[in-house]
Protein backbone atom coordinates (compact mmCIF):
# COMPACT_ATOMS: atom_id res chain seq x y z
CA UNK A 1 0.00 0.00 0.00
CA UNK A 2 1.50 3.28 -0.97
CA UNK A 3 1.08 6.39 1.12
CA UNK A 4 -0.95 8.09 -1.59
CA UNK A 5 -3.51 6.06 -3.33
CA UNK A 6 -5.03 7.48 -6.47
CA UNK A 7 -8.37 9.20 -6.35
CA UNK A 8 -9.99 6.63 -8.60
CA UNK A 9 -11.08 3.81 -6.32
CA UNK A 10 -9.73 0.50 -7.55
CA UNK A 11 -10.11 -2.89 -5.92
CA UNK A 12 -7.02 -4.06 -4.09
CA UNK A 13 -6.18 -7.24 -2.27
CA UNK A 14 -5.80 -6.51 1.40
CA UNK A 15 -5.44 -8.41 4.65
CA UNK A 16 -7.71 -7.57 7.57
CA UNK A 17 -4.80 -6.57 9.76
CA UNK A 18 -3.43 -4.38 6.99
CA UNK A 19 -6.83 -2.74 6.61
CA UNK A 20 -6.69 -1.84 10.29
CA UNK A 21 -3.20 -0.41 9.94
CA UNK A 22 -4.04 1.66 6.89
CA UNK A 23 -7.40 2.69 8.26
CA UNK A 24 -5.62 4.00 11.31
CA UNK A 25 -3.12 5.92 9.25
CA UNK A 26 -5.93 7.40 7.18
CA UNK A 27 -7.74 8.36 10.39
CA UNK A 28 -4.70 10.36 11.35
CA UNK A 29 -3.19 7.93 13.84
CA UNK A 30 0.44 8.86 14.34
CA UNK A 31 1.47 6.86 17.38
CA UNK A 32 1.47 3.13 17.81
CA UNK A 33 2.79 1.41 20.91
CA UNK A 34 2.43 -2.32 21.08
CA UNK A 35 3.75 -5.74 21.85
CA UNK A 36 3.63 -8.57 19.32
CA UNK A 37 1.04 -11.27 19.69
CA UNK A 38 -0.59 -13.60 17.25
CA UNK A 39 -2.99 -12.95 15.50
CA UNK A 40 -2.58 -9.19 15.68
CA UNK A 41 1.14 -8.85 15.02
CA UNK A 42 0.88 -7.80 11.37
CA UNK A 43 -0.71 -4.53 12.47
CA UNK A 44 2.42 -3.66 14.43
CA UNK A 45 4.70 -4.92 11.70
CA UNK A 46 3.07 -2.83 9.01
CA UNK A 47 3.02 0.25 11.20
CA UNK A 48 6.65 -0.13 12.20
CA UNK A 49 7.43 0.32 8.53
CA UNK A 50 4.77 2.89 7.65
CA UNK A 51 4.53 5.26 10.59
CA UNK A 52 7.94 6.89 10.30
CA UNK A 53 7.16 7.61 6.65
CA UNK A 54 4.21 9.64 7.87
CA UNK A 55 6.29 11.40 10.50
CA UNK A 56 4.58 9.25 13.09
CA UNK A 57 6.05 7.11 15.82
CA UNK A 58 6.11 3.38 16.33
CA UNK A 59 7.42 1.82 19.48
CA UNK A 60 7.52 -1.77 20.57
CA UNK A 61 7.13 -1.63 24.30
CA UNK A 62 8.35 -4.12 26.86
CA UNK A 63 4.86 -5.54 27.41
CA UNK A 64 1.17 -4.79 26.98
CA UNK A 65 0.87 -2.91 30.27
CA UNK A 66 3.40 -0.46 28.92
CA UNK A 67 1.83 -0.44 25.47
CA UNK A 68 -1.50 0.70 26.81
CA UNK A 69 0.19 3.24 29.06
CA UNK A 70 2.33 4.77 26.35
CA UNK A 71 -0.51 5.27 23.90
CA UNK A 72 -2.40 7.15 26.59
CA UNK A 73 0.67 9.30 27.17
CA UNK A 74 0.96 9.92 23.44
CA UNK A 75 -2.69 10.88 23.20
CA UNK A 76 -2.29 13.38 26.02
CA UNK A 77 0.62 14.80 24.09
CA UNK A 78 -1.75 15.30 21.17
CA UNK A 79 -1.24 12.26 18.98
CA UNK A 80 -4.01 10.01 17.80
CA UNK A 81 -2.71 6.76 19.16
CA UNK A 82 -3.42 3.09 19.09
CA UNK A 83 -2.34 -0.36 20.14
CA UNK A 84 -3.23 -3.81 18.88
CA UNK A 85 -3.17 -7.06 20.75
CA UNK A 86 -4.95 -10.32 21.37
CA UNK A 87 -6.55 -12.01 24.41
CA UNK A 88 -3.60 -12.40 26.81
CA UNK A 89 -2.34 -8.93 25.99
CA UNK A 90 -5.82 -7.51 26.23
CA UNK A 91 -6.08 -8.90 29.76
CA UNK A 92 -2.85 -7.16 30.63
CA UNK A 93 -4.12 -3.88 29.24
CA UNK A 94 -7.21 -3.79 31.40
CA UNK A 95 -5.85 -1.71 34.24
CA UNK A 96 -4.64 1.09 32.02
CA UNK A 97 -7.65 0.82 29.76
CA UNK A 98 -9.68 1.77 32.82
CA UNK A 99 -7.33 4.66 33.37
CA UNK A 100 -8.02 5.88 29.85
CA UNK A 101 -11.71 5.69 30.60
CA UNK A 102 -11.71 7.61 33.85
CA UNK A 103 -9.19 10.12 32.53
CA UNK A 104 -11.16 10.37 29.27
CA UNK A 105 -8.25 9.97 26.91
CA UNK A 106 -9.01 9.10 23.29
CA UNK A 107 -7.24 6.11 21.75
CA UNK A 108 -8.01 2.88 19.95
CA UNK A 109 -7.32 -0.61 21.22
CA UNK A 110 -7.57 -3.46 18.75
CA UNK A 111 -8.15 -6.94 20.12
CA UNK A 112 -7.87 -9.63 17.50
CA UNK A 113 -9.47 -12.43 19.40
CA UNK A 114 -8.00 -15.90 19.54
CA UNK A 115 -9.02 -19.03 21.40
CA UNK A 116 -8.92 -18.66 25.17
CA UNK A 117 -8.83 -18.78 28.10
CA UNK A 118 -5.14 -18.18 28.76
CA UNK A 119 -2.74 -19.05 25.96
CA UNK A 120 -5.51 -21.25 24.60
CA UNK A 121 -5.42 -21.54 20.83
CA UNK A 122 -3.11 -18.80 19.63
CA UNK A 123 -3.89 -19.18 15.95
CA UNK A 124 -7.54 -20.18 16.04
CA UNK A 125 -10.55 -17.90 15.77
CA UNK A 126 -12.77 -17.27 18.76
CA UNK A 127 -15.27 -14.72 19.95
CA UNK A 128 -14.44 -15.30 23.56
CA UNK A 129 -13.52 -11.77 24.59
CA UNK A 130 -16.81 -10.02 23.92
CA UNK A 131 -17.83 -9.79 27.54
CA UNK A 132 -14.31 -8.99 28.62
CA UNK A 133 -14.32 -5.99 26.31
CA UNK A 134 -17.28 -4.71 28.29
CA UNK A 135 -16.28 -5.67 31.81
CA UNK A 136 -12.58 -6.43 31.79
CA UNK A 137 -11.35 -3.56 33.90
CA UNK A 138 -12.41 -3.00 37.49
CA UNK A 139 -15.05 -0.51 38.49
CA UNK A 140 -17.94 0.86 36.49
CA UNK A 141 -16.95 2.24 33.16
CA UNK A 142 -18.44 2.97 29.81
CA UNK A 143 -17.28 1.08 26.74
CA UNK A 144 -17.49 1.56 23.03
CA UNK A 145 -16.51 -1.51 21.03
CA UNK A 146 -16.89 -2.09 17.31
CA UNK A 147 -16.96 -5.40 15.45
CA UNK A 148 -16.22 -5.61 11.71
CA UNK A 149 -17.10 -8.52 9.46
CA UNK A 150 -15.06 -7.87 6.35
CA UNK A 151 -11.71 -6.51 5.39
CA UNK A 152 -13.35 -3.36 4.12
CA UNK A 153 -15.14 -2.96 7.41
CA UNK A 154 -11.86 -3.44 9.25
CA UNK A 155 -10.72 -0.34 7.45
CA UNK A 156 -13.94 1.58 7.94
CA UNK A 157 -14.51 0.68 11.56
CA UNK A 158 -10.95 1.50 12.44
CA UNK A 159 -11.55 5.00 11.17
CA UNK A 160 -14.86 5.10 12.96
CA UNK A 161 -13.18 3.90 16.14
CA UNK A 162 -10.83 6.87 16.00
CA UNK A 163 -13.70 9.21 15.27
CA UNK A 164 -15.70 7.96 18.22
CA UNK A 165 -12.64 8.02 20.45
CA UNK A 166 -11.96 11.64 19.59
CA UNK A 167 -15.55 12.70 19.72
CA UNK A 168 -16.35 11.04 23.03
CA UNK A 169 -12.89 11.35 24.56
CA UNK A 170 -12.59 7.72 25.41
CA UNK A 171 -10.65 4.62 24.47
CA UNK A 172 -12.52 2.67 21.81
CA UNK A 173 -12.09 -1.05 21.33
CA UNK A 174 -12.04 -2.76 17.96
CA UNK A 175 -12.88 -6.43 18.41
CA UNK A 176 -11.83 -8.64 15.55
CA UNK A 177 -11.96 -12.24 14.53
CA UNK A 178 -8.71 -14.00 13.76
CA UNK A 179 -10.15 -15.14 10.45
CA UNK A 180 -10.71 -11.58 9.35
CA UNK A 181 -7.35 -10.40 10.61
CA UNK A 182 -5.49 -12.93 8.55
CA UNK A 183 -7.53 -13.28 5.40
CA UNK A 184 -7.14 -11.17 2.29
CA UNK A 185 -10.07 -9.81 0.39
CA UNK A 186 -10.61 -7.59 -2.60
CA UNK A 187 -11.63 -4.23 -1.26
CA UNK A 188 -12.34 -0.85 -2.76
CA UNK A 189 -11.20 1.76 -0.29
CA UNK A 190 -13.12 5.02 -0.34
CA UNK A 191 -11.21 7.95 -1.78
CA UNK A 192 -9.35 9.78 0.96
CA UNK A 193 -11.14 13.05 0.39
CA UNK A 194 -14.44 11.32 1.09
CA UNK A 195 -13.35 10.11 4.50
CA UNK A 196 -14.97 11.77 7.46
CA UNK A 197 -12.25 12.29 10.03
CA UNK A 198 -13.06 13.74 13.42
CA UNK A 199 -10.57 15.36 15.71
CA UNK A 200 -10.88 16.13 19.38
CA UNK A 201 -12.19 19.55 20.28
CA UNK A 202 -9.52 21.84 21.61
CA UNK A 203 -10.24 24.50 24.22
CA UNK A 204 -10.65 28.05 23.00
CA UNK A 205 -10.61 29.66 26.42
CA UNK A 206 -7.66 31.09 28.31
CA UNK A 207 -5.91 28.52 30.50
CA UNK A 208 -7.33 30.07 33.65
CA UNK A 209 -10.84 29.27 32.54
CA UNK A 210 -10.13 25.85 31.21
CA UNK A 211 -11.76 22.96 33.03
CA UNK A 212 -10.95 19.76 31.26
CA UNK A 213 -13.59 17.65 33.00
CA UNK A 214 -16.60 19.84 32.67
CA UNK A 215 -19.95 18.47 31.66
CA UNK A 216 -20.01 20.86 28.77
CA UNK A 217 -20.69 20.77 25.97
CA UNK A 218 -22.85 17.69 26.33
CA UNK A 219 -20.71 15.91 28.91
CA UNK A 220 -17.57 16.20 26.84
CA UNK A 221 -15.07 18.87 27.66
CA UNK A 222 -12.54 20.05 25.09
CA UNK A 223 -9.12 18.46 25.51
CA UNK A 224 -5.90 20.43 25.30
CA UNK A 225 -2.64 18.64 24.72
CA UNK A 226 0.32 18.82 27.01
CA UNK A 227 2.62 21.63 26.03
CA UNK A 228 -0.10 23.87 24.64
CA UNK A 229 -0.13 26.23 27.57
CA UNK A 230 -2.98 24.79 29.59
CA UNK A 231 -0.98 22.93 32.21
CA UNK A 232 -3.72 20.84 33.70
CA UNK A 233 -3.72 17.79 35.90
CA UNK A 234 -4.85 14.30 35.00
CA UNK A 235 -5.33 11.52 37.51
CA UNK A 236 -6.86 8.06 37.74
CA UNK A 237 -8.36 9.02 41.08
CA UNK A 238 -11.92 10.24 41.17
CA UNK A 239 -11.60 13.92 40.29
CA UNK A 240 -13.47 17.16 40.04
CA UNK A 241 -13.95 19.18 36.88
CA UNK A 242 -10.46 20.65 37.24
CA UNK A 243 -9.00 17.19 37.28
CA UNK A 244 -8.00 17.32 40.92
CA UNK A 245 -8.64 14.35 43.20
CA UNK A 246 -11.86 14.49 45.14
CA UNK A 247 -13.75 12.33 47.53
CA UNK A 248 -16.73 14.60 47.81
CA UNK A 249 -19.64 12.28 47.02
CA UNK A 250 -21.45 14.79 44.81
CA UNK A 251 -18.33 15.41 42.76
CA UNK A 252 -17.60 11.73 42.45
CA UNK A 253 -21.13 11.05 41.36
CA UNK A 254 -21.02 13.86 38.82
CA UNK A 255 -17.87 12.40 37.34
CA UNK A 256 -19.30 8.90 37.17
CA UNK A 257 -22.50 10.18 35.62
CA UNK A 258 -20.61 12.07 32.98
CA UNK A 259 -18.65 8.97 32.00
CA UNK A 260 -21.85 7.03 31.64
CA UNK A 261 -24.02 9.65 30.06
CA UNK A 262 -21.64 10.77 27.38
CA UNK A 263 -22.20 7.30 26.00
CA UNK A 264 -25.82 6.60 26.88
CA UNK A 265 -26.99 10.00 25.67
CA UNK A 266 -25.46 9.37 22.29
CA UNK A 267 -26.52 5.86 21.50
CA UNK A 268 -28.01 6.88 18.18
CA UNK A 269 -24.71 8.25 17.06
CA UNK A 270 -22.63 5.40 18.41
CA UNK A 271 -24.68 2.34 17.56
CA UNK A 272 -24.54 0.77 14.14
CA UNK A 273 -26.39 -2.41 13.39
CA UNK A 274 -27.05 -4.29 10.20
CA UNK A 275 -30.36 -5.93 9.42
CA UNK A 276 -29.99 -8.44 6.61
CA UNK A 277 -33.20 -9.86 5.17
CA UNK A 278 -34.96 -8.98 8.39
CA UNK A 279 -37.98 -7.23 6.88
CA UNK A 280 -40.20 -10.29 6.82
CA UNK A 281 -38.04 -12.59 8.90
CA UNK A 282 -39.72 -15.06 11.21
CA UNK A 283 -36.44 -16.42 12.34
CA UNK A 284 -33.63 -14.09 13.27
CA UNK A 285 -30.01 -14.99 13.50
CA UNK A 286 -27.94 -12.83 15.79
CA UNK A 287 -24.25 -12.97 14.97
CA UNK A 288 -21.20 -10.75 14.77
CA UNK A 289 -18.05 -10.72 12.72
CA UNK A 290 -17.16 -13.75 10.70
CA UNK A 291 -20.08 -15.76 12.04
CA UNK A 292 -22.40 -13.24 10.40
CA UNK A 293 -20.80 -14.10 7.08
CA UNK A 294 -21.63 -17.75 7.57
CA UNK A 295 -25.11 -16.68 8.58
CA UNK A 296 -25.58 -14.69 5.39
CA UNK A 297 -24.60 -17.62 3.28
CA UNK A 298 -27.00 -19.80 5.26
CA UNK A 299 -29.78 -17.25 4.91
CA UNK A 300 -29.39 -17.07 1.16
CA UNK A 301 -29.67 -20.84 0.97
CA UNK A 302 -32.60 -21.00 3.40
CA UNK A 303 -34.46 -18.27 1.55
CA UNK A 304 -34.04 -20.31 -1.63
CA UNK A 305 -36.08 -22.93 0.19
CA UNK A 306 -38.61 -20.30 1.21
CA UNK A 307 -37.65 -20.03 4.85
CA UNK A 308 -38.06 -16.51 6.15
CA UNK A 309 -34.86 -15.95 8.02
CA UNK A 310 -32.75 -12.86 8.49
CA UNK A 311 -29.67 -11.64 10.29
CA UNK A 312 -29.12 -9.01 12.93
CA UNK A 313 -25.49 -8.01 13.05
CA UNK A 314 -24.09 -5.50 15.52
CA UNK A 315 -21.29 -3.36 14.12
CA UNK A 316 -21.29 -1.64 17.48
CA UNK A 317 -21.17 -4.42 20.01
CA UNK A 318 -20.81 -2.13 23.03
CA UNK A 319 -22.88 -0.28 24.05
CA UNK A 320 -25.12 -3.20 23.21
CA UNK A 321 -27.88 -2.23 20.79
CA UNK A 322 -30.57 -3.08 23.34
CA UNK A 323 -33.45 -1.23 21.82
CA UNK A 324 -32.69 -2.02 18.20
CA UNK A 325 -32.44 -5.71 18.93
CA UNK A 326 -35.57 -5.75 21.04
CA UNK A 327 -37.51 -4.04 18.30
CA UNK A 328 -36.15 -6.22 15.53
CA UNK A 329 -37.02 -9.35 17.45
CA UNK A 330 -40.57 -8.27 18.13
CA UNK A 331 -42.12 -10.24 15.33
CA UNK A 332 -39.81 -13.19 15.16
CA UNK A 333 -40.71 -16.54 16.52
CA UNK A 334 -37.16 -17.63 17.18
CA UNK A 335 -33.76 -16.14 17.44
CA UNK A 336 -30.65 -18.15 16.80
CA UNK A 337 -27.68 -16.69 18.60
CA UNK A 338 -24.60 -17.97 16.85
CA UNK A 339 -21.26 -17.26 18.45
CA UNK A 340 -17.82 -18.79 18.71
CA UNK A 341 -17.79 -19.09 22.46
CA UNK A 342 -19.66 -20.76 25.29
CA UNK A 343 -22.47 -18.22 25.34
CA UNK A 344 -21.88 -14.50 25.74
CA UNK A 345 -24.14 -12.72 23.29
CA UNK A 346 -27.02 -15.00 24.19
CA UNK A 347 -27.09 -13.49 27.67
CA UNK A 348 -27.42 -10.03 26.22
CA UNK A 349 -30.22 -11.13 23.95
CA UNK A 350 -32.02 -12.64 26.91
CA UNK A 351 -31.48 -9.50 28.89
CA UNK A 352 -32.86 -7.13 26.30
CA UNK A 353 -35.86 -9.24 25.43
CA UNK A 354 -37.21 -9.22 28.89
CA UNK A 355 -40.80 -8.16 28.73
CA UNK A 356 -43.01 -10.96 27.64
CA UNK A 357 -40.81 -11.90 24.78
CA UNK A 358 -41.78 -15.40 23.87
CA UNK A 359 -39.69 -16.24 20.88
CA UNK A 360 -37.48 -19.24 21.18
CA UNK A 361 -33.83 -18.76 22.03
CA UNK A 362 -31.65 -21.12 20.10
CA UNK A 363 -27.98 -21.34 20.91
CA UNK A 364 -25.30 -22.14 18.42
CA UNK A 365 -22.01 -22.12 20.27
CA UNK A 366 -18.72 -23.40 19.00
CA UNK A 367 -15.43 -23.16 20.80
CA UNK A 368 -13.28 -25.82 19.26
CA UNK A 369 -11.13 -23.45 17.24
CA UNK A 370 -13.15 -23.99 14.07
CA UNK A 371 -15.51 -21.39 12.71
CA UNK A 372 -19.25 -21.83 12.55
CA UNK A 373 -20.24 -22.97 9.08
CA UNK A 374 -23.31 -22.07 7.03
CA UNK A 375 -24.41 -25.69 7.29
CA UNK A 376 -24.39 -25.57 11.08
CA UNK A 377 -26.57 -22.52 10.94
CA UNK A 378 -28.87 -24.17 8.44
CA UNK A 379 -29.25 -27.06 10.83
CA UNK A 380 -30.31 -24.71 13.59
CA UNK A 381 -32.76 -23.03 11.24
CA UNK A 382 -34.17 -26.44 10.53
CA UNK A 383 -34.65 -27.00 14.25
CA UNK A 384 -37.10 -24.13 14.41
CA UNK A 385 -39.49 -25.61 11.91
Amino acid sequence: MSKNRGTKPKPVLMQGNAAVAFGALDAGMRFFGGYPITPSTEIAEILSAELPKYGGKFIQMEDELASMACILGASIAGMKSMTATSGPGFSLMQENLGYGMIAEIPCVVVNVQRGGPSTGLPTSPSQGDIMQARWGTHGDHPVIALYPDSVLECYELTIRAFNLAEKYRTPVILLMDEVLAHMRESVILPPKEKLKILNRIKPNVPPEWYKHYKNEPKYISPLASFGEGYRFHITGLAHDENGFPTQVPQEVEAMMDRLLKKITDNLDDIIQIEAFEMDDAEIAIFAAGVVARSAKEAIIKAREKGIKVGLIRPLTIWPFPDLDVEMMLENTKAVIVAEMNQGQLINEIKRVTKYGHHSKFIKLQKYSGLIITPDEILNKIAEVK
Binding site: P11, V12, L13, T38, P39, P122, T123, S124, E178, V179, L180, H182, M183, R184, E185, S186, V290, R293, S294, K296, E297, I300, I371, T373, P374
Partner: protein, 189 residues
Amino acid sequence: MAKMKTQIRLSGSGGQGLILGGILLAEAAILDGKKVLQSQSYGPESRGGSSRADVIISDEIIYFPRAVNLDILLCLTQEAADKFIGNLKPTGIFIYDSSQISINPIEGKAIGIPFTELAIKKFKTAIVTNIILLAFTCKITNVISLNALKKALKKRIKPKYVELNLKAVRLAVRLAEKYLSEGSPQARE
Protein backbone atom coordinates in the same frame (compact mmCIF):
# COMPACT_ATOMS: atom_id res chain seq x y z
CA MET B 1 -28.59 -18.62 -11.33
CA ALA B 2 -25.59 -19.23 -9.15
CA LYS B 3 -22.63 -17.63 -10.76
CA MET B 4 -19.10 -18.95 -10.90
CA LYS B 5 -17.36 -19.62 -7.59
CA THR B 6 -14.09 -21.52 -7.45
CA GLN B 7 -12.24 -22.75 -4.37
CA ILE B 8 -8.58 -23.40 -4.84
CA ARG B 9 -5.92 -24.67 -2.47
CA LEU B 10 -2.17 -24.43 -3.02
CA SER B 11 -0.34 -26.77 -0.68
CA GLY B 12 3.11 -28.03 0.04
CA SER B 13 5.76 -27.15 2.55
CA GLY B 14 7.04 -23.88 3.96
CA GLY B 15 9.47 -22.07 1.71
CA GLN B 16 7.88 -23.21 -1.52
CA GLY B 17 6.28 -19.82 -2.04
CA LEU B 18 2.72 -21.02 -1.80
CA ILE B 19 1.44 -18.04 0.16
CA LEU B 20 2.89 -15.79 -2.50
CA GLY B 21 1.26 -18.06 -5.07
CA GLY B 22 -2.08 -17.61 -3.37
CA ILE B 23 -1.68 -13.86 -3.29
CA LEU B 24 -0.71 -13.76 -6.95
CA LEU B 25 -3.71 -15.83 -7.84
CA ALA B 26 -5.95 -13.54 -5.81
CA GLU B 27 -4.52 -10.38 -7.30
CA ALA B 28 -4.83 -11.79 -10.75
CA ALA B 29 -8.46 -12.64 -10.06
CA ILE B 30 -9.08 -9.04 -9.06
CA LEU B 31 -7.55 -7.91 -12.35
CA ASP B 32 -10.00 -10.25 -14.04
CA GLY B 33 -12.78 -8.38 -12.30
CA LYS B 34 -13.61 -11.06 -9.76
CA LYS B 35 -14.30 -10.95 -6.07
CA VAL B 36 -11.68 -12.82 -4.19
CA LEU B 37 -10.81 -14.05 -0.74
CA GLN B 38 -7.46 -15.51 0.21
CA SER B 39 -6.54 -17.23 3.43
CA GLN B 40 -3.73 -19.37 4.70
CA SER B 41 -2.63 -21.60 7.49
CA TYR B 42 -1.15 -20.13 10.65
CA GLY B 43 0.36 -21.55 13.73
CA PRO B 44 2.73 -24.44 14.17
CA GLU B 45 1.41 -25.92 10.96
CA SER B 46 2.81 -22.97 9.06
CA ARG B 47 6.28 -23.11 10.54
CA GLY B 48 8.81 -25.52 9.23
CA GLY B 49 6.32 -28.09 8.11
CA SER B 50 3.45 -27.83 5.75
CA SER B 51 2.08 -24.71 4.13
CA ARG B 52 -1.23 -23.92 2.58
CA ALA B 53 -2.93 -21.03 0.81
CA ASP B 54 -6.59 -20.99 -0.11
CA VAL B 55 -8.18 -18.75 -2.69
CA ILE B 56 -11.88 -18.36 -3.36
CA ILE B 57 -12.70 -16.63 -6.62
CA SER B 58 -16.23 -15.61 -7.36
CA ASP B 59 -18.46 -13.34 -9.39
CA GLU B 60 -20.49 -12.55 -6.33
CA ILE B 61 -19.78 -11.42 -2.86
CA ILE B 62 -18.04 -14.13 -0.86
CA TYR B 63 -19.44 -14.64 2.60
CA PHE B 64 -18.17 -17.79 4.21
CA PRO B 65 -14.40 -17.37 4.19
CA ARG B 66 -13.24 -20.96 4.25
CA ALA B 67 -12.46 -23.15 1.29
CA VAL B 68 -14.00 -26.46 2.30
CA ASN B 69 -15.04 -28.08 -0.96
CA LEU B 70 -12.14 -27.57 -3.24
CA ASP B 71 -12.59 -27.19 -6.95
CA ILE B 72 -8.89 -27.21 -7.51
CA LEU B 73 -6.22 -28.73 -5.30
CA LEU B 74 -2.57 -28.06 -6.04
CA CYS B 75 0.01 -30.09 -4.14
CA LEU B 76 3.77 -30.04 -4.06
CA THR B 77 4.40 -32.56 -1.26
CA GLN B 78 3.16 -35.99 -0.32
CA GLU B 79 2.17 -34.79 3.16
CA ALA B 80 -0.04 -32.08 1.69
CA ALA B 81 -1.58 -34.45 -0.77
CA ASP B 82 -2.44 -36.97 1.93
CA LYS B 83 -3.84 -34.27 4.14
CA PHE B 84 -5.99 -32.38 1.70
CA ILE B 85 -7.14 -34.81 -0.92
CA GLY B 86 -10.23 -35.43 1.17
CA ASN B 87 -11.30 -31.84 0.75
CA LEU B 88 -11.46 -32.06 -3.03
CA LYS B 89 -14.92 -32.13 -4.58
CA PRO B 90 -15.70 -35.29 -6.55
CA THR B 91 -15.73 -33.07 -9.61
CA GLY B 92 -12.57 -31.25 -8.61
CA ILE B 93 -9.20 -31.17 -10.27
CA PHE B 94 -6.09 -32.39 -8.53
CA ILE B 95 -2.82 -31.06 -9.88
CA TYR B 96 0.30 -32.39 -8.21
CA ASP B 97 4.02 -32.60 -8.43
CA SER B 98 4.66 -36.07 -9.72
CA SER B 99 8.34 -35.80 -8.84
CA GLN B 100 7.38 -35.64 -5.15
CA ILE B 101 4.05 -37.38 -4.82
CA SER B 102 2.78 -40.81 -5.54
CA ILE B 103 -0.96 -41.16 -5.44
CA ASN B 104 -3.61 -43.79 -5.47
CA PRO B 105 -6.31 -43.45 -8.09
CA ILE B 106 -8.98 -40.89 -7.26
CA GLU B 107 -12.41 -40.35 -8.65
CA GLY B 108 -11.85 -36.96 -10.12
CA LYS B 109 -9.33 -35.60 -12.49
CA ALA B 110 -5.69 -35.83 -11.42
CA ILE B 111 -2.83 -34.30 -13.30
CA GLY B 112 0.69 -35.09 -12.25
CA ILE B 113 3.56 -33.04 -13.58
CA PRO B 114 7.10 -33.18 -12.15
CA PHE B 115 7.06 -29.46 -11.42
CA THR B 116 10.01 -29.31 -9.07
CA GLU B 117 12.16 -31.49 -11.22
CA LEU B 118 11.32 -29.43 -14.28
CA ALA B 119 12.06 -26.18 -12.49
CA ILE B 120 15.46 -27.40 -11.38
CA LYS B 121 16.23 -28.83 -14.76
CA LYS B 122 15.27 -25.74 -16.72
CA PHE B 123 16.15 -22.93 -14.32
CA LYS B 124 18.67 -24.53 -11.97
CA THR B 125 16.46 -23.56 -9.05
CA ALA B 126 13.26 -24.82 -7.47
CA ILE B 127 12.28 -21.28 -6.67
CA VAL B 128 9.96 -20.87 -9.64
CA THR B 129 8.11 -24.14 -9.03
CA ASN B 130 5.18 -22.22 -7.57
CA ILE B 131 4.90 -20.03 -10.66
CA ILE B 132 5.06 -22.95 -13.02
CA LEU B 133 2.37 -24.67 -10.99
CA LEU B 134 0.22 -21.58 -10.97
CA ALA B 135 0.54 -20.75 -14.62
CA PHE B 136 -0.05 -24.37 -15.56
CA THR B 137 -3.21 -24.35 -13.50
CA CYS B 138 -4.44 -21.15 -15.10
CA LYS B 139 -3.96 -22.56 -18.53
CA ILE B 140 -5.62 -25.87 -17.71
CA THR B 141 -8.55 -24.58 -15.66
CA ASN B 142 -9.02 -21.05 -16.94
CA VAL B 143 -9.79 -20.00 -13.41
CA ILE B 144 -8.00 -16.74 -14.13
CA SER B 145 -6.48 -15.33 -17.28
CA LEU B 146 -2.81 -15.75 -17.95
CA ASN B 147 -2.67 -12.08 -18.70
CA ALA B 148 -3.88 -11.17 -15.26
CA LEU B 149 -1.40 -13.56 -13.71
CA LYS B 150 1.44 -11.89 -15.58
CA LYS B 151 0.31 -8.45 -14.49
CA ALA B 152 0.07 -9.57 -10.89
CA LEU B 153 3.52 -11.08 -11.16
CA LYS B 154 4.98 -7.84 -12.39
CA LYS B 155 3.38 -5.96 -9.53
CA ARG B 156 4.39 -8.25 -6.69
CA ILE B 157 7.75 -9.57 -7.69
CA LYS B 158 11.04 -7.73 -7.44
CA PRO B 159 11.96 -6.32 -10.87
CA LYS B 160 15.12 -8.34 -11.15
CA TYR B 161 13.19 -11.59 -10.85
CA VAL B 162 10.36 -10.73 -13.19
CA GLU B 163 12.06 -12.01 -16.31
CA LEU B 164 12.82 -15.38 -14.72
CA ASN B 165 9.24 -15.73 -13.60
CA LEU B 166 7.85 -14.85 -16.97
CA LYS B 167 10.03 -17.57 -18.45
CA ALA B 168 8.54 -19.96 -15.94
CA VAL B 169 5.10 -18.93 -17.08
CA ARG B 170 6.02 -19.64 -20.66
CA LEU B 171 7.33 -23.06 -19.74
CA ALA B 172 4.12 -23.79 -17.88
CA VAL B 173 1.98 -22.75 -20.79
CA ARG B 174 3.86 -25.05 -23.13
CA LEU B 175 3.50 -27.87 -20.61
CA ALA B 176 -0.18 -27.27 -20.34
CA GLU B 177 -0.67 -27.14 -24.06
CA LYS B 178 1.20 -30.39 -24.36
CA TYR B 179 -0.87 -31.92 -21.62
CA LEU B 180 -4.10 -30.73 -23.15
CA SER B 181 -3.21 -32.26 -26.46
CA GLU B 182 -1.57 -35.48 -25.23
CA GLY B 183 -2.41 -36.02 -21.59
CA SER B 184 0.40 -36.55 -19.17
CA PRO B 185 1.77 -39.99 -18.45
CA GLN B 186 1.11 -39.53 -14.74
CA ALA B 187 -2.48 -38.58 -15.09
CA ARG B 188 -4.76 -41.28 -13.80
CA GLU B 189 -1.76 -43.36 -13.00
